[in-house]
C-alpha cells in the first residue's frame, strides 16, 4: 500500500506551489517530521514536513515544477512492518489526534477553524502541535542533506487540538488554514493584490553547518528555547536562521543577527536595486508573477481615469515640525501619516471612493482600511492600516510605525497585508515630480503622492516660494465619474492645507 503526498496548502491564498528542492530522495527513509522539500508559495519559501514514517518511493513533481494544491507530488511507501518504524514513530498510532482532516481539499472546512495568530511556519496540524515549553520539541532535525536548519516558530497555540476528521493515513496533511478574514463586515474586500515578499532570501539562507547531523536519527531541533521565543516574538520563521552554536544550533544571538542582517539587506537593496544581467532571461518570482497578473488584470478590467491637484503643504510642514518640537505625541508624525489621516477623512465623506465594483453593483465598504504600497526586494507589499475612520493622527502613526517595524523584521501577519479598501502609493521620498498609480483590484481608487518641493506659488496676488506637492488619484470609472474624483481629491487637499483639522 502506498500513500500519496500532495502539495499542501501552506497559506490561505496559496493555490499552487513550486518545488524548489527535494530534501528527500527516492529510497530515503522518512520519519514523521522530516523535512521533505522546500516549496515556493505565493508568500514565502517554506519547508514541507512529513507526517508519516515510511520510505519515499517516488517523486512525481520535479524540482522547479509547479503543481496545484492537492496535486500528488510524491509517493510514500510505509516502511515494512518492522519494529524500527513503529519505534521511531514513538507510538504515533496511539495518538490519532495527530492526524487531521485534509483541509487542502476542503477549503470551506478549513475556514471554520479559527486561527489564533500568525502562523509563519506551515507544516504542522494543530493537533500535532504541542504546548511550547519543556515538551515543545516536536521539531525535528533536518536530514543530513538539508542545507539549513529546518524549524518552525515555537507554537503559541494552546487551543485544543482540532478534531480529527477524515483521516487519511499516510497522506501529507496540509496545516490548518491560516484564515485571517478582513474585517468580517468587509466581505467584498478582496485579498491584498500584492502578496508578502518571500520571507526567505537565498542570500540569507546559507548552509547552516558543515557538521553533519548525527546519522539521521530523529533528534530535536537545534535552537535554544530563548532563540525560539525571540524569533516567535519577532515573527520570524526560525527555519530561516543560520545557527552558530554547536552543530548549527540556533542561539538568541543568531536571531538578533538575522534581524540586523535583514535590515541591512533591506537598506542595501533600497540604495542598489538589483538589476538583471543584460541578455539573460529571468523566471518571475512568485511575487513578481502575482504583481504581473494583478496589475494586468487591473488595467484590463478597470477603466482608469486620473485627476491631479497641487497641494500647498506649507501648513502641513509647519504642523509636522511643531509636533516634533513639542513632542506632543509619543510617535513621530510623518507626512505619510498626515496624508493617510487626510485621505481617511475624505474617504468618509466620499464613500464611493471606498468601494468596489462587483457584478454590476457597487459595494461600499463599512470600514476605511488604507493600504500603503511599500517597496521590497523586487516587488511590493501593501501593509494595511485598518479602520482608519476610528483612528486619530497619533494612532495612525503608531499603526504605521508598527507596520514599518514589521517590514523591517519580517513579522507581518496576513491580516497586516489584507483587507485594504483604498491604497496610497507614496513616492515622496523618491523625489518624484508627478506620477499616477495602477488601482489595486477590486478597490475603487489609488492615491499617488509625489515629493514636496519648493515651487512658485501665488499668495494674495504675489508670487512666492511655497512648499507644494502633486497628488494624483486614479479612479475606477465604473464606480466614479470625474466630478466625484475631483471633489474627493480636493477634499484631501483641503484637509492637507488646513491640517489643524487632522488633529481633532
Amino acid at each position: 500500500m502506498s500513500n500519496e503526498i500532495v502539495m499542501p496548502k501552506l497559506s490561505d491564498t496559496m493555490e499552487e506551489g513550486k518545488i524548489l528542492r527535494w530534501l528527500k530522495h527516492p529510497g530515503d527513509a522518512v520519519h514523521h517530521g522530516d523535512a521533505l522539500a522546500e516549496v515556493e508559495t505565493d508568500k514565502a519559501d517554506m519547508v514541507m514536513e512529513s507526517f508519516d514514517d515510511g520510505v519515499l518511493a517516488e517523486i512525481r513533481l520535479k524540482e522547479g515544477e509547479t503543481a496545484k494544491v492537492g496535486a500528488v507530488i510524491a509517493i510514500l511507501r510505509p516502511a515494512g512492518a518492522g519494529a524500527e518504524a513503529s519505534a521511531a514513530n514513538g507510538g504515533a498510532e496511539a495518538k490519532p489526534a495527530e492526524v487531521v482532516a485534509e483541509p487542502a481539499d476542503e477549503p470551506e472546512e478549513a475556514t471554520a477553524i479559527p486561527s489564533s495568530g500568525p502562523r509563519l511556519a506551515p507544516i504542522r496540524p494543530a493537533a500535532a502541535r504541542k504546548r511550547r515549553g519543556a515538551e515543545a520539541d516536536g521539531e525535528n532535525r533536518p536530514p543530513r542533506s538539508a542545507p539549513r536548519v529546518v524549524a518552525r516558530v515555537a507554537d503559541r497555540d494552546e487551543e485544543p487540538a482540532a478534531p480529527a476528521k477524515g483521516a487519511i493515513a499516510g497522506k501529507v496533511e496540509a496545516p490548518p488554514p491560516e484564515f485571517h478574514p478582513a474585517l468580517s463586515a468587509v466581505r467584498s474586500a478582496g485579498p491584498t493584490a500584492i502578496p508578502a515578499p518571500p520571507a526567505r532570501d537565498l542570500t540569507i539562507a546559507t548552509p547552516v553547518s558543515d557538521v553533519p547531523a548525527t546519522s539521521g536519527e530523529a533528534g530535536k531541533l537545534r535552537a535554544s528555547p530563548l532563540a525560539r521565543r525571540a524569533a516567535e516574538e519577532a515573527g520570524i520563521d526560525i527555519a530561516h536562521i543560520r545557527g552558530s552554536g554547536p552543530d548549527g544550533r540556533i542561539t538568541k544571538r543568531d536571531v538578533d543577527n538575522f534581524i540586523r542582517e535583514q535590515q541591512l539587506f533591506k537598506f542595501r537593496r533600497l540604495i542598489a536595486p538589483r538589476e538583471g544581467m543584460p541578455g539573460t532571461r529571468e523566471e518571475l518570482s512568485k511575487m513578481r508573477k502575482t504583481i504581473a497578473h494583478r496589475m494586468a488584470q487591473s488595467k484590463r478590467e478597470i477603466p482608469h481615469f486620473y485627476v491631479t491637484v497641487e497641494v500647498d503643504m506649507e501648513e502641513a510642514v509647519k504642523l509636522k515640525s511643531s509636533l516634533e518640537a513639542t513632542e506632543l505625541f509619543e510617535e513621530d508624525i510623518t507626512y505619510n501619516d498626515i496624508i493617510v489621516k487626510a485621505t481617511a477623512l475624505a474617504l468618509s465623506r466620499y464613500t464611493r471612493m471606498n468601494a468596489s465594483y462587483e457584478n454590476d453593483g457597487i459595494v461600499i465598504y463599512p470600514n476605511i482600511n488604507i493600504g500603503m504600497a511599500v517597496a521590497v526586494e523586487d516587488g511590493l507589499i501593501v501593509p494595511v492600516i485598518h479602520e482608519c475612520e476610528h483612528l486619530t493622527l497619533p494612532e495612525i502613526a503608531r499603526a504605521a510605525h508598527r507596520l514599518v517595524n514589521k517590514a523591517a523584521h519580517g513579522g507581518f501577519t496576513s491580516e497586516d497585508l489584507s483587507g485594504a479598501t483604498f491604497t496610497i502609493s507614496n513616492m515622496g521620498m523618491l523625489n518624484v515630480e508627478h506620477f499616477a498609480a495602477v488601482i489595486v483590484p477590486p478597490q475603487a481608487g489609488i492615491l499617488a503622492i509625489s515629493a514636496i518641493k519648493d515651487r512658485p506659488v501665488a499668495r494674495n496676488g504675489q508670487l512666492a516660494i511655497g512648499k507644494t506637492m502633486m497628488m494624483t488619484v486614479a479612479c475606477d470609472h465604473r464606480i466614479i465619474d470625474g466630478v466625484v474624483g475631483a471633489r474627493f481629491l480636493n477634499e484631501v487637499k483641503r484637509f492637507l492645507e488646513n491640517p489643524a483639522s487632522l488633529l481633532v
Binding site: 515549553g133 519543556a134 515538551e135 528555547p225 530563548l226 532563540a227 521565543r229 516574538e233 552558530s244
Partner: protein, 470 residues
C-alpha cells in the same frame, strides 16, 4: 633543547595555565609549563582547595556543636587540635598539587620550576627560583606564549605582613587559632575566613567600607548573609573605612572611620582580605610590547591575544572576575581558538561566583538591580528554603533562591542563591543559561523530590507567578 621550539609555552600552572596546557596537548601542540611555586597555582595551594578544607572543618565543628540541641545526640566536651585542622587542609592541597603534576606528565607536557619572564615575542626566559635547582635551560623558544600568571593578594597602604597580620595566604598555614581577629574586607575571602574563625570560637570582626557585605552581589543576598553572620556572633561593621594599623600590646588596633567618625577594633590578629590584583608587572611585558591597563590587567582581544600577536593571556592576569573556573574556561577557549577549532569570543556573563561559608552564596548572570540598570524589564522569582522539604528535613532552612528573568522572553538573566549547597545548585542555572533556557523549561523540568534543587524549579515558576509550594 634550545633549538627545539615549543608550540606553546604557558607561564603559570594554576587552574588557567595547567588546564590550557592539557587542552593544548590534546590538540597536538608541544607544550611547556613554567611554575615558580607549586603545580596548581594559588587555587590548589593557596586558595580554593585548602580554604574549602578549612571550611569543611568549620562545618564539622558546627555540626558537632549542634548535635545535642538538634538531634539529641550527646557529645562530650568538644575539643580540637587547630594544627590538625590546618595540616588536613595542607594535605588536601598537596594531594591535588601532585595530581596536577601527574596530569602534566601524563599529557607529555614539559614542566619547569623557574621564574619566567618574556624575553621577546617568541622567547621565555627562565631564572632560578631561590632555593631550588637551576632550570635546565635559560630560555624557551615558543611559537606562542600563554600568560597565566594569576594574581596576588592586595595589601592596604602602610601594611606589612607578619606578626599576626596576614593575607589569606598566611592565614591558610597559620596553625594557631587567634583569640580574636579583625578581618578587613567582607568579600568572598573575608566572609569565608570570618565564618571559619567564628566556628572555631575566635572573636571575629569583619570590616567593610561598602554598605553591604559581598559588594557587587545582590543586596538582598548580602543582607541575608549579614543577618546570618550577626546571628552567629560576628561583628559585621559595614561602612567602615580602614585608616591605620598599630601595635597594641600583644595584638593590633585597627583604626577606622565611619561617616566621618573615628572607630577602632582591637584584635590579636588581622586578616587583610581586600581583594587580589594581577601579577603582570614582573613578566617583562615591555620586551614584547604588551600593554596593560592601570590596574595591571593585560589588554586582550576576543582571541585572548595581547597587544603582541604571539602572546596570549588568560585568567586573573588578563581580566576580572578573578575566579579559578573562569581561568580554566578561558585557558581552554584560548587554546582552542589558537588551534582554530573554536570561534573567538568568550561569554563573561555566565561565570558563576561562589562563596563557601555557611550559608553558601552562589550567583550567576545579572542581579535584579544590574538588569534594571541595563534597562531590562524583569520578573523576579523568589523561593525560600524554609518552604523546601529537604531543607526542612536536614534543618538547613536559611536563605533563598532568587531568579531574575526578562519580562519579554522569560530569559533566565541571572540567579542568586544563598543557602545550604548553593554553590552546587547554581550549576543548573549556568547550564540553563548556556543553553539559553527560559523559566518555562526550568519550571517544567522535573526535579527530584526531596532535594534542594526543587527550589530552583519553584523560583522559576515563581517568576511566572506559578510557584506551587510557596
Amino acid at each position: 633543547m634550545a633549538n627545539s621550539r615549543y608550540d606553546l609555552v604557558v607561564i603559570g600552572s594554576g587552574p588557567g595555565g595547567y588546564v590550557a596546557a592539557i587542552r593544548a596537548s590534546q590538540l597536538k601542540m608541544r607544550v611547556a609549563v613554567i611554575e615558580r611555586d607549586l603545580p596548581g597555582g594559588v587555587c590548589l595551594n593557596w586558595g580554593c582547595i585548602p580554604s574549602k578544607a578549612l571550611l569543611n572543618s568549620a562545618e564539622t565543628m558546627e555540626a558537632i556543636r549542634g548535635a545535642g540541641a538538634e538531634h539529641g545526640i550527646a557529645t562530650g566536651e568538644i575539643t580540637f587540635d587547630f594544627k590538625r585542622v590546618i595540616a588536613r587542609s595542607r594535605a588536601a592541597a598537596d594531594k591535588l598539587s601532585k595530581g596536577v603534576r601527574f596530569l602534566l606528565r601524563k599529557n607529555k607536557i614539559d614542566y619547569f620550576e623557574a621564574n619566567a619572564s618574556i624575553a621577546g615575542p617568541n622567547t621565555v626566559a627562565l631564572a632560578p627560583v631561590a632555593g631550588k635547582p637551576a632550570p635546565p635551560a635559560e630560555a624557551l623558544a615558543a611559537e606562542r606564549i600563554l600568560l597565566a600568571a594569576g594574581s596576588g593578594e592586595r595589601l592596604l597602604p602602610g601594611m606589612t605582613i607578619g606578626d599576626g597580620v596576614m593575607t589569606s595566604r598566611e592565614a591558610l598555614v597559620h596553625d594557631r587559632l587567634p583569640a580574636s581577629i579583625a578581618i578587613i574586607g567582607a568579600g568572598a575571602i573575608g566572609a569565608e575566613f570570618g565564618y571559619f574563625y567564628q566556628a572555631f570560637g575566635a572573636k571575629v570582626a569583619i570590616i567593610e567600607l561598602e554598605q553591604q557585605m559581598l559588594p557587587g552581589f545582590d543586596a538582598e543576598i548580602a543582607e541575608e548573609l549579614r543577618r546570618n553572620f550577626v546571628k552567629r556572633g560576628v561583628n559585621v561593621m559595614l561602612g567602615h573605612g580602614y585608616k591605620s594599623l598599630a601595635r597594641d600590646g600583644a595584638g593590633w588596633k585597627v583604626a577606622l572611620e565611619a561617616g566621618g567618625k573615628a572607630a577602632a577594633v582591637e584584635a590579636e590578629a588581622v586578616l587583610v582580605a581586600v581583594g587580589r590584583g594581577p601579577l603582570s608587572r614582573e613578566l617583562g611585558l615591555d620586551r614584547a610590547g604588551i600593554e596593560a591597563d592601570r590596574a595591571g590587567y593585560l589588554k586582550i582581544d576576543d582571541s585572548f591575544r595581547t597587544t603582541c600577536p604571539s602572546i596570549y593571556a588568560i585568567g586573573d592576569v588578563a581580566r576580572p572576575p578573578l575566579l579559578a573556573h573562569k581561568a580554566s574556561a578561558e585557558g581552554v577557549a584560548a587554546v582552542e581558538i589558537m588551534a582554530g577549532v573554536r570561534e573567538p569570543g568568550f561569554d563573561l556573563m555566565n561565570i558563576p561566583g561562589c562563596i563557601y561559608c555557611e550559608p553558601e552564596v552562589a550567583c550567576v548572570g545579572l542581579s535584579e538591580a544590574q538588569a534594571r540598570e541595563r534597562g531590562i524589564e524583569v520578573k523576579v522569582g523568589k523561593f525560600p528554603f524554609r518552604a523546601n522539604g529537604k531543607a526542612v528535613a536536614v534543618n538547613q532552612t536559611e536563605g533563598f533562591v532568587k531568579l531574575v528573568a526578562s519580562k519579554q522572553y522569560s530569559e533566565v538573566l541571572g540567579c542568586q542563591i544563598i543557602g545550604h549547597h548553593a554553590t552546587d545548585l547554581i550549576s543548573e542555572i549556568v547550564l540553563g543559561r548556556t543553553l539559553e533556557t527560559t523559566t518555562l523549561e526550568l519550571g517544567r523540568s522535573v526535579h527530584p523530590h526531596p532535594t534542594l534543587s526543587e527550589s530552583i524549579m519553584e523560583a522559576a515558576l515563581a517568576a511566572e507567578g506559578e510557584a506551587i509550594n510557596f
